[in-house]
Symmetry: C2
Subunit: 306 residues, 2 copies
């Protein structure tokens, strides 16, 4: 068959629960509890963790403590804390508290981008020059998110060509990697194959990451396509925190423990301890006070065989 | 890449919510409501639907109305109603009420089988002679389930060789198809590839079906592997009804609407109307009175593109 003949020994996970997760949860999580979750994630073996977002507290009150959480978070060796920085003011704050990597966020969909940041895609890319160049100049790494890369809640289908265009611009400005987000979790495997085939015509493996949502149950199937096509970087959120809390148990972000479970069962290493990430999922659940949609933290890991 | 180069135009789904689903739900669903769900499923386009189980009402009180539900169910042309029949007495009852296909159930795990039916695997296979041969003699089709084919709650890992052995015996006795069940939802894609590779050394495509559980989020990823390796028959349960109700939102059976959504997004036909199966998922949810884990009936189908 040829299926899984070139599985990698290891892939790199990028944890988004503390930023993307918390900003989409209703619960207010206090500083001490955020630090507890941050410790649990680092302790489980995650090395790249998005900690917060340096936006105005008026926009995202859940992350109003960005400066404090950054100042107080533990700094175990080898763990890189990143933060979303939408503008120069955010970058300044991030630098002041020792953030090592920043992320910028844009949508492949004009309508979604307009509703999200009140600017066109072109204007947003232009404005990134005020963030990315100074960040690079002061030694920070910059990662780019391209959201709604599979589909948009307003526009429906998104032309893969426009995803490539936005990614090209981010990489040209100096992002070391672009993470493609299936923001509404509509992506199916053949579409993922086609999008990645187009991306890989132009970009290299380390330049691409997948940020899948499990809204319609297809997240791990899409990850599998990514793995087969050479993607080696995946975003996830412990417990499946964040996403669309339109219904109890409803899913948004792919849960880190579900991703690690599948990869471990395929012999693909992540450096993450499955027992500990399951435990971190339970910590996350206790903090937000709702049953989170991640499955392995509920079901346990019994039965796994690599 | 070669990925998805030989996707089929169509696959066949086998619906298990009314039997496997209901017998694992706590709610008592009355006859009229079962018939309502049966109608919704047939109306959505499902052609092969397991309706009930002819076991002693003492074992499975949820299915105590097997005779009545079979007598009263609508018989639209092209819809085949099947039923689980563990023994000759069950077969007799099924024949009396016009069931066209029966299913028998066995575990690949000795311990699981012993706990389930109080017999060894060998003795269970022997006892099937009293069901399968007479069923075939009276013109019924017989389907076999092999459960715990990926792993067992008592024994852990299951030797794929023993799955092949059990499947061989069922097919030799006259089952037209064997459905491999990932009963505890522990399967990961490489394991699925290896199991299927072993099965396909000996069996033909129409002889194999996959019955995946989404307990750990891997159901659709495993379906994808099956699709790539040539499987054309998949079991599912609308709403994801059944499985392990250990936690709110916890998943067991793969949800029919999630499966249809992914397949439709890949251009693989099922003959099932996505809108109608989503509606059937909502009907199922209203009958069992809990939020069912299926995702697409919660999230809706917005964003799908084939």
């Amino acid at each position: 068959m040829g299926l899984f003949e070139s599985l990698p020994a290891e892939v790199s996970l990028y944890e988004v629960s503390l930023r993307d997760g918390l900003q989409n949860e209703r619960a207010t999580v206090i500083l001490r509890d955020k630090l507890r979750l941050a410790d649990a994630l680092a302790n489980a073996g995650l090395k790249r963790i998005e900690l917060t977002s340096f936006v105005s507290p008026k926009w995202i009150p859940q992350l109003a403590d960005a400066d404090e959480v950054s100042r107080h978070v533990s700094r175990p060796p080898g763990v890189m804390w990143s933060a979303l920085c939408p503008n120069a003011r955010g970058l300044e704050r991030a630098r002041a508290v020792g953030i090592e990597e920043i992320a910028v966020f844009i949508s492949a969909s004009e309508t979604h981008n307009l509703r999200n940041v009140n600017k066109s895609v072109a204007k947003t890319l232009e404005a990134f020059h005020e963030v990315i160049a100074p960040a690079l100049a002061s030694g920070l790494r910059v990662r780019g998110y391209v959201s709604t890369a599979w589909g948009c809640p307003y526009e429906g289908a998104i032309d893969p060509g426009s995803v490539v265009d936005v990614a090209r611009s981010l990489l040209a400005q100096g992002c070391y990697q672009v993470s493609l987000g299936d923001t509404i979790g509509c992506g199916t495997p053949r579409q993922t194959r086609d999008l990645l085939a187009l991306m890989f015509r132009e970009f290299q493996v380390p330049q691409l990451a997948l940020h899948m949502h499990d809204t319609r149950g297809t997240a791990l199937a899409n990850v599998l396509v990514g793995l087969e096509m050479g993607v080696r970087d995946f975003d996830s959120s412990v417990g499946g925190m964040g996403g669309c809390p339109y219904a109890p148990g409803a899913a948004g972000n792919l849960a880190t423990e579900d991703l690690v479970y599948m990869l471990a069962g395929m012999g693909v290493g992540t450096g993450i301890d499955l027992e500990k990430i399951v435990e971190a999922g339970r910590v996350a659940e206790s903090l937000v006070g709702r049953v989170l949609p991640g499955k392995v933290h509920q079901a346990g890991i019994r039965g796994l065989r690599a």
